[in-house]
Symmetry: C2
Subunit: 527 residues, 2 copies
């Protein structure tokens, strides 16, 4: 069997002593695709790390504009290759070509790369801080070692390990990336890697700035993230895999940034249902089933009062779930994982209102599923009832009264997002004020009157949150420039001679535009 080559040090090379192979699967047809990809041995990891270290040696001598040029060219190459990318991603993931892949996710991806390019040119991301009294100066700088990126299955473009948010952040911060493809879309990732390779050549970046391997055995993955030559890891995926990588990386003192899934609780206060029941039901259903529910910010937990309107909400939502079309899941594990999650919930008191099973179809499928549980059962089994079901599934928790609803919120684990819907004229405000402080510290992004799906690439975004949604409550995986700080080290210069300072810390502002904190004042000026 001929195995697809991996990208090492600027060249497409055969894997060295692969330990296996795999094919990706067209989930719409449950059919293996023809290409076979290697499961790399640690030899490939070591080759990539060694090459990346040569890039690390070369980078300080290059003007930062070269990285920005690369990011812009890469975005252009992606656009030029759009047809093939969309077709390949559609085949590997069953996500719709339009609007999702071609008109939503691809433009988001290139926009993110261009935002990263602007951040590199602007340089304000590095938070240059100068204390003229002591002549101490500091800024964030590249890690001085490559970054490993493990991308998720659900965004073959925007979170791709070789083109997505972690990739853009790590490269823009000045680090070589070693991408580990998601095994659900290796062909898509290969196209990105080739587009990156060409952009590297054209921009003059070191060849090993972007490298690609497809798969590792779990133990080799742990060795990779703990390797002495690695700088840090960005991971988006399941909690089970994430926690194992976390333990491996941290035991070696390596930073690891994880986005591990989230239930994204939505608290619907009675006034919102009194005022705009149908709108809330509609927004909930759409948010829960967009992308066949396979979004990290899908609302998987609804909390409301078990009163007449709360029950009416369940009834109306059930009809939406019943009647709504259900799409094809990303992979063959989808149906069984969903069934297992639902089994965990039902064996702890949850009751299916709609759906709950996979069904016979050409592609991997699962019914739109809505479950409910009493507040009492939730409080008694809040751990298992917070099992993530990565698909079009949500659990409604019906609280007996306001006090029980508050207790339910107090049991919510760390999440990426939390929403509160409330009456627009303030009827729920007292109740909101009881809930907000409790929910606030459990989530990274707090929303009002809006479902959590749709993560804007904004400098104010936080796509992060408390453990176990992520591994650290202070960092975001989305949003330029904040996401870049994950892949940076704080570099301080104390009494360093002026001509030896990096450009960003010299007396003269290097661009005339860069924001710096000089003696505690943010300024674009010189010293």
């Amino acid at each position: 069997m001929i195995l697809e080559p991996i990208l090492i040090d600027g060249g497409w090379e055969s894997a060295d002593s692969p330990v296996g192979s795999f094919q990706s699967v067209n989930p719409a047809l449950k059919a293996s695709l023809p290409e076979a990809y290697p499961v790399s041995s640690l030899k490939d990891v070591e080759r990539a790390l060694a090459a990346a270290h040569q890039a690390v040696e070369q980078l300080p001598a290059l003007p930062v504009g070269v990285i920005a040029d690369f990011l812009d060219r890469f975005a252009e190459n992606i656009e030029a290759d759009k047809a093939a990318l969309v077709e390949t991603a559609h085949t590997e993931t069953a996500l719709p070509r339009e609007p999702r892949l071609a008109s939503v996710e691809l433009p988001r991806t290139t926009d993110q790369l261009r935002q990263a390019a602007r951040a590199v040119r602007d340089r304000s991301w590095c938070m240059a801080t100068i204390d003229t009294r002591t002549n101490i100066r500091s800024k964030y700088a590249p890690l001085g070692a490559p970054v490993a990126v493990f991308g998720p299955n659900n965004f073959p473009f925007a979170f791709n390990s070789c083109a997505g948010g972690d990739f853009a952040a790590a490269v823009a911060a000045g680090n070589p990336v070693i991408a580990k493809a998601n095994t659900g879309h290796p062909g898509t990732t290969r196209l990105f890697a080739e587009a990156a390779r060409k952009a590297i050549q054209a921009s003059g970046l070191p060849r090993a700035m972007v490298q690609l391997i497809y798969r590792l055995r779990p133990d080799d993955g742990f060795r990779f993230v703990a390797h002495p030559l690695l700088g840090a890891t960005g991971f988006t995926g399941s909690r089970a895999a994430g926690l194992k990588l976390k333990a491996a990386a941290e035991s070696a003192g390596k930073p690891v940034y994880l986005e591990m899934g989230s239930l994204n609780p939505v608290i619907i206060l009675p006034g919102a249902l009194e005022e705009r029941m149908d709108q809330v039901v509609d927004e909930f259903f759409n948010s829960c089933t967009t992308g066949v529910g396979q979004l990290c910010t899908k609302p998987g937990l609804i909390v409301l009062l078990d009163d007449a309107r709360g029950r009416e909400f369940c009834g109306k939502a059930s009809r939406f779930f019943e009647e709504g079309a259900s799409g094809v899941l990303l992979g063959e594990d989808g149906p069984q994982n969903l069934a297992a999650a639902i089994e965990t919930m039902t064996s702890h008191g949850a009751e299916p209102l709609v759906g709950g099973s996979s069904f016979d179809a050409p592609g991997y499928s699962f019914q739109n599923s809505l479950l409910q549980v009493s507040g009492g059962s939730f409080l008694a089994n809040s751990g298992p009832l917070q099992t993530e079901a990565f698909g079009p599934v949500s659990l409604v928790v019906k609280a007996r009264d306001e006090d029980e609803l508050v207790k339910i919120v107090e049991k919510i684990e760390g999440n990426l997002t939390g929403c509160v819907y409330s009456h627009s004229a303030g009827k729920d405000d007292e109740f909101y004020n009881r809930i907000e402080p409790l929910l606030r510290r459990r989530v990274g992004r707090l929303l009002n009157d809006k479902m959590p799906t749709g993560v804007a690439v904004s400098p104010a975004m936080n796509h992060g949150g408390p453990y176990p949604a992520t591994g650290h409550p202070g960092f975001t995986a989305v949003g330029i420039p904040a996401s870049m700080l994950r892949f940076a080290a704080l570099h301080c210069y104390d009494n360093v001679r002026k001509h030896r300072l990096p450009m960003e810390l010299q007396d003269k502002n290097p661009t005339g535009q860069m924001w710096r904190s000089i003696d505690r004042e943010w300024t674009q000026g010189d010293i």
Copy 2:
């Protein structure tokens, strides 16, 4: 035996079911002090955590000015209690009353608390970021859970778990602190806790904002930092203890910030010795022996060329070490720990030039010690030869030539600081340029022509660095406001109604002075 009480929820209370007791020792006399302190059981930890959570519930409703008032009053109370603090710390640590304790460390401590108070009032620390186009707003906020602070033995004031840098940063960021006293100076810490308790009462902060326990069995310490009710941990101390706490905290997903020691390599290029040999020797000796060498930034590793001037440097430095007075070490473990570290070095090729032993004296003592090793031996045993000797001890590595010196720098582990001394007129600049990128990524603070001791409390300071000097390369333990970010969570508000936004994210600038990033521009203005 009557055990000193611990500070729980605003009151001095008996330890609940203590599992042992300890006394501190006057190191100048090798004599136990009369007071006995409890080794707390987990019950005290649980009491403190529960009380701290009540404080967490109360804090959001308080104006931030209350925290600032507390910090200022605490600084005043410390000044009012200066005589007792200095006397107690002198008795417990043998550090000189003057100038060290009374005129250097105490003013540094109160200045740090007042800087923290100013940061609280100024609010710019929270990095408010507003994107008006998407109406997404974010800022750093308290963790919503208390912070555990474990202080080191060597700065009874400035790094005290109940008054020092981690304490000030955690409180200023809005978190209750549970201080675990360093067992070398429990009496000093108790005085701080009492001064804090009074300041809490006067300012109106929740009673449990500051609590104190003295000691835990190691396993209970691990349970403490991993406890579900804990937010994060700040630790300053030995690598051995730090790594164990790190593993415990991280296995539970709890952030832990560690400052675990450092060799602080100083690379002395030939031009510096040609130009100002005596000055460099003098600076080195003073930096190495200040505080009896028990500083986290003590220069413990000197790298220079094995040429006539390099050897002259060793000879001159040896005379300083030989003739210089040696002070009293902080504790009874000091002499044996130093002897063990030196034994590790000598058994891997290092040769003592001066000292190397403890000696008979009324207090815990160790000779000023200088060792040397060839570059070749260092390269062959770079691990053991980078053993920290926490005392007046340094190792000179003599490189055969420039290439070997470069290889030595490539073997240096992560450190807090790294210095390069070079010729002032540029004679060494080519050599400097070879070394700088290698050293830069191994250290948090890079210095020129200046020894690393003396860590200014500056907004541009980085008292941090790559693992294993710390647990994360992106954070500093010293410097307001940057050190506060360790004890903060990123809070994003998406479509949250304006009147529900925290003050710092409302359209109107809450102080007219606070710096905010609005649509990528830093401004003190309103929206």
